[in-house]
Structures are given as C-alpha cells and as structure tokens.
Amino acid sequence: MSTTWIIVALILGFIVVFQIAKASEYVSILRGEEKTRKQNNRINGFLLLAFLVIGLIGVYYCNQTLKGKILGESASVQGEKIDTMINITLVITGIVFVITQVLLFWFSYKYQEKEENTAYYFPHNNKLEVIWTVVPAITLTILVGFGLYYWFQITGEAPKDAMVVEVTGHQFGWEFRYPGRDGVLGKKYFKEIREDKGNPLGQIWSDKANQDDIYTTTTVHLVVNKPVKFIIGAKDVIHDVGLPHFRLKMDAVPGIPTTLWFTPKFTTAQMKEKYGPDFEYEISCDQMCGKGHFGMRGIVLVESEAEFDRWIATQKPQYVQAMSMQAAPANTADSTGKAAPSTAGIALK
C-alpha cells in the first residue's frame, strides 16, 4: 500500500514539474527573454515558500505518526537521562532550525528581484556578529555541560553490589562469562584459547577463581532492578555492544577491556506484554566487523531474581566441561577455521 502511495507521489511530482517547465516555455515565447526571467524568478520564489510550508507540515505529520513508536521508553535507569538529553537537544536545535529556515525562505521570497527593489548596501555590523556568535556559544556550552554531567554519572564506578558479566565479541557472535559463586572472574590468556579443548575464552585452569566460572553464548541473563557491570572485550576485531533498548553502547576492543554498567528496569516478560510476544532485548554489533556483521546479534534476557537463580543453578561451570573433554582427547583438529595458536599448556605452570 505504502509503495503505491510513494509511486503515485513520485509520478505526481514529475507531472507538476513538467507542467511548470512547459508553461514557462510558452510564456517565454510569448513575452521575450527578459520578462520570462522575472516570471521564472517569481515562480521559484513561490516554490521555495511552498517547500517551507509543505516541509513543516511533513515534519509535524511524521512526528505525529511516529511519536512514541520509535523505541518506546528506555529500559534502563541510565537511559532515561539520555532520553532527556535527546529531547532537550531536539527542542533547542528545533527552535534554531525553525528560526533560520523561516528567515531563509522569507528573505528569498521578500527580496527577490523586482523593478522597484535594488540591493541594499549592508556590508557588515559588528554588534550583530557578536550576538550570533555569543548566543550559540553559550547555548552550546550549556548543552555540552549537561551532557558531561550525565556522562560522568553514567560512566562512573559501578555500585558495589553490581552483578559482573564478562562480554566477549568474536566473528560473529557474543560470549558471556559469569564469575560463579566466588564472585571473581578467573584469569585468562588469549594463547590458551582452544575451542576443541572446551576453552573458548582462554581461561587459565590453574587459577582457582576460574573453576566455578559459568560460560554461555548468545543469551545473557540479567536481573531486573539490579545494577550490572559488563566487562567487554573482543577476540579478533573491534565489535560494539549496542543496546538500543537500554540506550547504551560500548566498543569491544581486542586487547583493551572496556566497561559499562546499567540497571535494567523491566523484565523481558513485561516488555513482551507491552510490545507483543516477539519482543527481545537485542545486542546488536554496531561496529563493522566483517562479512557476518549484519547477523551478529545477542539477546539480553531480563528476569526476576528468583528466575535468574533457578537458571544459574542449572548451569555447569566451564571447568567441568573442559576437564571432561581433556579426559577424552578431541579426535578432530581445530575445526573452527580460526587462527587459534596451538600453544596450549605453555602458560600452565
């Protein structure tokens, strides 16, 4: 349906422009060149005014249609502040936009070439220049200042009771590690990475803290209203943890861990009630990472504390898995096709 409308609008646009062109051609034959030029000038002045009116109506219509449907309410406490900032910025830049555009179109219409209208000699005025330098500078300072204030709040230290999850990006998927019962993530070293030996993250098994760490892929489970701190890294190229529903984003840079913390406000079940049964919180990879970039997605599952505890109780630490695989040596070579260094064991002391 919408396709038909767009096509109809396009065809109408073509016809209008074509008719105007044809009319102006006849007029030019009848009136001679100089008059045509002036006629033409009037038509264009008028078209510009029409463009302004139609444009403003279009913006209003677009706003009415899409209002509230774009992303819905922020699903994290921190995201509310970002939404506030976006709204404030939209209002301020919107005011500036309307003022400059109305002036622009009004000037184009009013000061178009006419018999009685000669150009006015007005080379400069320092007072005006100062006004339109200082006012935007102050406005921008306030906006950026507010931005920094919120930013420092959001990126500051995570609360002490925050749950910690390690997020690792690879081509093309997400891996997660929970610290387990001891609350400490064990040490890891990238040369230890051996997927065939059940060690996809390169955990060092001699480190006791590693032995209860829980490893999952694709879906990360979080607890509603409990702050969570992501420690983000990457195995190969730069990825990006994009969380549009929570209004957050952080790059996953190989070799340089980054952190991010936030507090989810609604459980996935609550969101499903609101937006339909297909709703999932999504982790989209927002940094171009190669061929499969478009399909690199993860899911955030926000649950109640009880549901989370039930889930984590069913998870076995990766250590158990790895030990059982080492007991029965893998009969295939590294089948993942990745350049995993085969130096396992060197760092094991």
Binding site: I6, K81, I82, T100, E113, E129, P136, L143, F294
Partner: protein, 553 residues
C-alpha cells in the same frame, strides 16, 4: 567586446592537431582543472551506481539481492570513491581552474607539479578500482578499522590496493596544497592584498594548509598498514602487541580535517554565489574569512568524537566534547552571514543560487544533528547507527556536493564558453533536492530506532521496511534526476555558439577574461582597489572603494 569561437581556436591553433597528446601533456591550469572535473564525474557515476546497488539491497527486510561479501565491498568503495575520487578532485578542479583567474594570474605557481598532482590522483583511483579484478575490493569500510583491515581478517588484496591508491592520491593532494599556497602568496594581481581576496580563494588558501597538515597522518597510517600486511609488522596487530586503536587515532586525526577539506572550498563557492545573485557584497567579509581560519585550527582537535564509544577516559572525552562544540560556532557564524547577504538583496533564483539556498537548508539540518555528537551521551547512543549516515550525507551531499553543483552552474560558462540550460537545470534541481531529502531524512529516524550502519540486511521490525523503502525510492529519484544533468551537459557542450563572457554580471576577475579563456588568461588587468574589481570597472560611479568602505581604512 564581441568574442567569436574562431578567436579562441586561434589561441589553441598551436596544438590543435594533437587532440589526445594535448591533454596528456597539458600543464595549463584550465585544462588540468577540466580533467579533474571529468575524473570526478567518471567516479561520481561509478560511486552513484554503487549507492543504488546498496539501496536496492536495503529496499526491504531480509533481502538477498547482493551477497554480504559483495555488499561490504560496495559500501566501502562507495565511501572511498565519493570522498577521495569525487569530492576532492571536483573541488580541486574548481580551485585549479578558477583560482588563478580570480586573482588575476595566468597559471598556478608550479604548472608541472599541477599536472603531476592530477595524474597521480587519477592513477590512485584507477589502482583502487583495479582491486575488483585482483581478487576483491577493500571490504572494511571507508575508514577501514584495524584490526579488521589486517590480512588475517581481510585476506584478499583489496586493502593493499586501498593503501596504495589512497597513498598516491594523498601525495597528489599534498602537492596541490603546496601549489595553491604559493600561487595565492606570490601570484596575486598587483594591488590585491590578502584582505581583498575573493572568498573562494580565501577558503581554498586556508584549505590548502589543512591538506598539508592532515594528509600526512593518513599517508603514514596507510604506509604502516601496508607494512603490517606485506612485511608482517605489528603496528595494528593486537595478538603480537600492536594497538587496535592506533589506526583510529591516526585515521581520524586526518579524517576530521578531511571533512573540512571537502566543505571549505564549497563554502567558498557559496560565498561567491550568494553575493552575485543577491546583487550585494558579502555581508561580514572578515567574519566569513576569519571563521574559516578558526574552523581550520579547531578541526585538528576534535577527532576523538568519532571514538567516544571506544572506552577512552572521561577527561579525554570531556576535552573532545568541548572542542567539538566549539567548532560548531564558526560554522554557525557563516550561516548567519550568508543569510545577512541575502537580506535586503535583489535575489535571482538561478540554478546556482537555488542550490546555495538548498544548501542552507540541508546544511543547517546537518549542522544541528551534528551538535548531537558533541553531547557525549547522545553521541554514544547514535554513533554507528543510520543517524550518522544521515548526518554525514546531509553535510557531504547537502554541503559539498550541492556546492559543486552550484559552482558547476555558476562557472560552466567559464569552463566551456557556453551556459548550461537554466530550465533543465531547475527541473534537475527540484527533483534532486526532493530525492535527497527522501533518501536521507528518514535515516535519522532509522538511526534513533537503533538500525546499525553497514548492515547487509535487517530484520522485519515495525517501520523498518517502510522507512527503508522511502529511502531507496529517494535514491532512485536522485539517480534519475542526475541523468537530466548529464543530458544538460551533453546538450550544452554540443552548442556551436559561445555565450556572453559575463552572464551573471559578476564581481570578480574571472568574468573579465574572455568567454572561454585562451592560453593566456588576461591581456591587461584593471587597477585593483577593492574586493570586487570587475564590478568597480563596470560601474565606476558605484565602485566599492568610493563607497564608505571603512574596513580598509
């Protein structure tokens, strides 16, 4: 003064028998300028087709028109081509052709270096495209982040061609920069002080310093990457101790000034166009020129706003957020000054002026959406989404490309001796501008909805298909309207008669030269007493220097 085609042909009689050799061996700034423009047009067609392929792929959710691999190559080549082999050559073409004419010189300072710059840029572009035949084009995006650009993750030789092609073009750009600076400093007409330079020349002059400052950072990064890929060095290879972020720092230290390298000469074109078609002097000359210098200096201190999501420290982010905000101010000043130029004028809506007015609309949108990027939390939310794509195209198409088109309609008479058809031009203008807004305005909304950029396809979420369809329809409207422009150029080029040498009642010296300047630009120059020497000559009783030009005293 009546000019006939035969007079001009006489000038060129010396080499009329060498049709091809003449172009190959030319060191004349005008012929080199024209070759720059042709090269830009050639790559523009190629880059445009790539854009249409991308939009076709994205027309609806879960589309499989291209394969992901091809899609990555296409969007990488689209960005690289449009920036390095369309916008830069097109603007160089105007600078190299018009600048000597505008300052009353007969050629650039170093004509042979000028030819060298052109040819090496062209070969850079050809090498880049040769990659299609050598196993695959570069596929890591136009900014080509490490370590995705390393041979472990991009094993075809595309990125090697990217490095060499851009290195060659980069060397060409730096030598053009040197050429422009020396020409402006040493070859101005007698009496023309730096304060009397036409604004297009002012902006090109400042721009040349930006080129010399910024391009070496890219050239160094490209050389390092080539070492990494070919000789297994470890600059960007994380596994052996390199840094994944080093490339981003070096690239954006070049990349942000590059944005201004592309927009400043376009600002220069607008400054000329607004004056001539408002029949007024520019409003606030010194502020327009001064804010250009401010932009040039600040542009070297804002690059980290491309990297707010990489987890750098808060102090660093705060500094670069503040500097990004600062750079918005001089740009805003310019917009107000152009509005001031229109105020009280006697405006003629030629195609050139229409593009300048449309630029003020699109660039204001692009500028205001850009402000969002200096506010870190918002930048953080919208970076790497379609919001950035929309913002960037509003600035680069609505800013730079509109400038090139405005300049093309303004100066075509000087380039070819003939004037482009205004009526066809106006139809082209309206279709192109409407198509442009259809394509890119909706991408702001898509970005805020969270659609990441550079995705090959997307899931069928509410409104995604509708908005993307609108965007694709707009892209095809733009493409279709460009055919009208090409036809216009073709039709005009075939005209037998030359048009008047001064169709717009111009202000600056290029209009004083003959309809199609011969090998020598000027036989004699008037005494230069103000910023509008040709105006003074034509209207001695209304001359600027007789008017209360207090600025100069």
């Amino acid at each position: 003064m009546e000019i006939r085609l035969s007079d001009i042909e006489k000038n060129k009689a010396t080499y009329k028998d060498y049709r091809i050799l003449r172009w190959l061996t030319s060191v004349d700034h005008k012929e080199i300028g024209i070759m720059y423009l042709w090269v830009a047009l050639l790559f523009f067609v190629v880059g445009g087709i790539e854009a249409l392929l991308m939009r076709t792929q994205l027309v609806m959710a879960n589309n499989h028109f291209l394969s992901p691999d091809v899609y990555n190559q296409i969007f990488t080549m689209h960005g690289t081509t449009m920036i390095f082999f369309v916008m830069m050559p097109a603007l160089f073409g105007f600078q190299v052709y018009m600048m000597p004419l505008m300052i009353g010189a007969n050629d650039m300072a170093f004509p042979r270096m000028n030819a060298f710059s052109f040819w090496i840029t062209l070969f850079g572009g050809l090498l880049l495209y040769f990659s299609f035949f050598a196993g695959g084009a570069p596929n890591a995006g136009w900014f080509n982040y490490a370590p995705l650009n390393e041979s472990a993750y991009s094993s075809t030789s595309g990125i090697d061609y990217y490095c060499i092609g851009l290195l060659l073009a980069g060397i060409g750009s730096v030598s053009t920069g040197v050429n422009i600076i020396v020409t402006v400093l040493k070859y101005r007409a007698p009496g023309m002080s730096l304060k009397m330079l036409p604004l297009f020349v002012w902006m090109s002059f400042v721009n040349a310093f930006l080129i010399i400052g910024a391009l070496p950072s890219l050239n160094a990064a490209l050389s390092m990457l080539l070492l990494d890929r070919q000789l297994h060095a470890h600059f960007f290879n994380v596994a052996s101790g390199g840094s994944a972020l080093l490339w981003q720092h070096m690239f954006w230290l070049f990349g942000h000034p590059e944005v201004y390298i592309i927009i400043l000469p376009a600002f220069g074109i607008y400054s000329e166009v607004f004056q001539v078609f408002s029949r007024k002097r520019i409003y606030g000359y010194s502020f327009v020129a001064g804010s250009t210098v401010a932009i040039a200096l600040l542009s070297f201190g804002v690059w980290v706003h491309h990297m707010f999501a990489t987890g750098l420290g808060n102090t660093v982010n705060a500094f670069f957020g503040a500097s990004s905000m600062l750079i918005g101010v001089p740009t805003g000043i310019k917009i107000f000054n152009w509005l001031g130029t229109m105020y009280g004028g006697s405006i003629r809506f030629t195609v050139s002026m229409l593009f300048a007015i449309a630029f003020l609309i699109e660039f204001t949108i692009g500028g205001l959406t850009g402000i969002a990027f200096s506010i870190i939390p918002i930048d953080w939310q919208v970076t790497d989404t379609y919001y950035v794509v929309a913002h960037m195209h509003y600035v680069m198409v609505g800013g730079s490309l509109f400038g090139v088109l405005s300049g093309l309609f303004y100066w075509f008479q000087k380039l070819s001796g003939k004037q482009l058809d205004e009526k066809l031009g106006k139809i082209f203008f309206w279709l192109f501008v409407i198509g442009f807004n259809m394509t890119f305005f909706v991408q702001h909304i898509l970005g805020i909805m969270g659609m990441p950029r550079r995705v090959y396809t997307y899931p069928d979420l509410p409104y995604f298909t509708l908005l993307n369809l609108c965007s694709t329809a707009g892209a095809f409207l733009m493409g279709g309207s460009l055919l009208l422009l090409f036809y216009n150029i073709y039709k005009t080029a075939r005209k037998k008669e030359l048009d008047r040498s001064d169709p717009w009642d111009g202000f600056t010296l290029e209009w004083l030269s003959t309809a199609l300047p011969g090998q020598k630009n000027f036989e004699a120059l008037p005494e230069i007493k103000s910023r509008r020497p040709y105006w003074d000559l034509k209207y001695p009783d209304k001359a600027d220097w007789k008017n209360d030009d207090k600025e100069r005293k």
